[in-house]
C-alpha cells in the first residue's frame, strides 16, 4: 500500500534527499568596526614647581632648584609633525610682581640642557604659545613612527639676571611661569 499518486521509489528518493537540501542562506550583512584612539598630550611638573631666588642688584640669582618637566604624548605621526614645549608669562612686563616695581620677563632666563636653549636665554620670545615677547621654546621633538607615543623629562633651570636692570627695590617678588606643550 503506497502513497496515492506516488510510486514507492519516488517517495523514497524524496525522503532521502530532503535533509541535505533543507538549508537557506541569507544575504551577507556587514558590521563595520571603528575604533578611535584620541591623541593625547600632557605636561606635568614632577618636581621643582616652586622656585626661590635671592635677588642681588647687578648680579645673577639662580633658582633654588630646577623644575622637572615631564611631557607625554600619543599622537598620529601622519597628522602631527612636531611636539614643542614652551614656558611663558601671562604678563611679560610683570613676570615677577612686587609691591612697587615689577620685574619683566627679559630679566628671567631659562635653560634646558636637554632641550633647545642650552644656555640661559631670556623668556622674551614670541611663539605660538604665550603672549608676544613673553615666552621661551624649551623643547622641540620631531614625531616619527618610533616616538609617536613617548614620555620625556627635562630639567628647566631658571635665573633672574639683574646685571643690567634698573635698581630693584628691596622686597618680595612673585610670579608664575606657565608650561604648555603644542603638537602640530
Amino acid at each position: 500500500m503506497g502513497a496515492p499518486g506516488l510510486a514507492p521509489g519516488v517517495l523514497a528518493a524524496f525522503l532521502l534527499a530532503a535533509p541535505a537540501r533543507a538549508q537557506t542562506l541569507s544575504g551577507v550583512s556587514i558590521v563595520t568596526l571603528q575604533a578611535t584612539k584620541v591623541s593625547a598630550l600632557t605636561v606635568v611638573i614632577g618636581s621643582g614647581s616652586s622656585m626661590n631666588f635671592s635677588l642681588l642688584q647687578g648680579a645673577i640669582a639662580n633658582g633654588s632648584t630646577a623644575a622637572a618637566i615631564t611631557t607625554s604624548w600619543s599622537v598620529n605621526p601622519g597628522q602631527i609633525g612636531t611636539v614643542r614645549v614652551y614656558g611663558y608669562f601671562s604678563t611679560p612686563s610683570a613676570a615677577l610682581a612686587g609691591a612697587t616695581m615689577n620685574i619683566p620677563s627679559n630679566y628671567v632666563e631659562g635653560r634646558v640642557t636637554t632641550g633647545v636653549p642650552t644656555t640661559y636665554t631670556p623668556i622674551a620670545q614670541t611663539n605660538p604659545v604665550g603672549p608676544a615677547g613673553g615666552s621661551l621654546l624649551l623643547v622641540s621633538e620631531t614625531i616619527t613612527g618610533v616616538n609617536k607615543s613617548k614620555t620625556r623629562t627635562d630639567n628647566l633651570d631658571l635665573r633672574v639676571n639683574l646685571t643690567t636692570s634698573p635698581p630693584v627695590p628691596a622686597g618680595n617678588y612673585n610670579g608664575t611661569l606657565r608650561i604648555q606643550v603644542r603638537a602640530f
Binding site: P169, N174, V181
Partner: protein, 188 residues
C-alpha cells in the same frame, strides 16, 4: 572642452589645497603646568671711602691742624621704607682714649674733630658722642637722612673734613701718631 578641462583642473587643485591645509592645521595643545617663582631682594646698606682714605696732619701744639685731604664717603642703600625710617652715618674710634697713638702717648678722640657740611655737623665737632654705633664717647653722627619712597634706593657722597685741635690739650710729645677712624652707616 578646453574650458571644462581647465575648470576640472582648477577644482582638483582647490580640493588638493584644502587637503594639504587640513593636515597642516592639525594641532594639539596640552594642559598648562605652573612653576611658581618667589624672589626676594634683600635690603642693602653699604659705605665706602672713595678717596682720601689716608689723611695726614702736621700737629702744632696749641693750634688746630687740618687734615691734608677730606675723605669722600659714599653711602648706598636699597631699603624698604615700610621697615626702615632713616639712614644715619657715624664715624668712631674703637678706643676713644687713644684715637691716635705712637705707642707711648695717646691723643684722645676729644681732640679729633670732624665736620660734614652736607650732613649733620656743620662745624668742627669732637668725636666724643655716644651713639648707636661705636663705643661710648667715641663717635660722631655725620648725617641722618629719612627714608621714603622717593629715596629708598640711593647713593650719596659726602666729604668729611677732619682736624686735630691741640689748642686746649696737654703737651703732645714730638712723634708720629697713627689711628683709624671707622665709618659705619646704620638704617633703622
Amino acid at each position: 572642452m578646453k574650458l571644462r578641462t581647465t575648470v576640472r583642473v582648477a577644482v582638483a587643485l582647490v580640493v588638493a589645497g584644502f587637503g594639504v591645509a587640513g593636515s597642516a592645521e592639525a594641532q594639539l595643545l596640552s594642559n598648562i603646568a605652573n612653576v611658581n617663582l618667589n624672589a626676594n631682594a634683600a635690603q642693602t646698606l653699604t659705605v665706602s671711602v672713595t678717596s682720601g682714605s689716608t689723611v695726614n696732619f702736621a700737629l702744632t701744639q696749641g693750634a688746630a691742624a687740618a687734615g691734608d685731604v677730606s675723605p669722600a664717603i659714599s653711602t648706598s642703600w636699597n631699603l624698604n621704607p615700610g621697615l626702615t625710617g632713616a639712614v644715619s652715618l657715624f664715624g668712631y674710634f674703637n678706643t676713644p682714649s687713644a684715637a691716635l697713638t705712637d705707642g707711648v702717648y695717646d691723643i684722645a678722640s676729644t681732640y679729633v674733630q670732624g665736620r660734614m657740611t652736607t650732613g649733620a655737623v656743620a662745624t668742627f665737632t669732637s668725636f666724643t658722642q655716644t651713639n648707636a654705633v661705636g663705643p661710648a664717647n667715641g663717635s660722631l653722627l655725620l648725617f641722618t637722612e629719612a627714608v621714603t619712597g622717593a629715596n629708598k634706593i640711593k647713593t650719596r657722597s659726602d666729604n668729611l673734613d677732619l682736624q686735630i685741635d691741640l689748642t686746649a690739650s696737654p703737651t703732645v710729645p714730638a712723634s708720629t701718631y697713627t689711628g683709624t677712624l671707622r665709618i659705619q652707616a646704620r638704617a633703622l
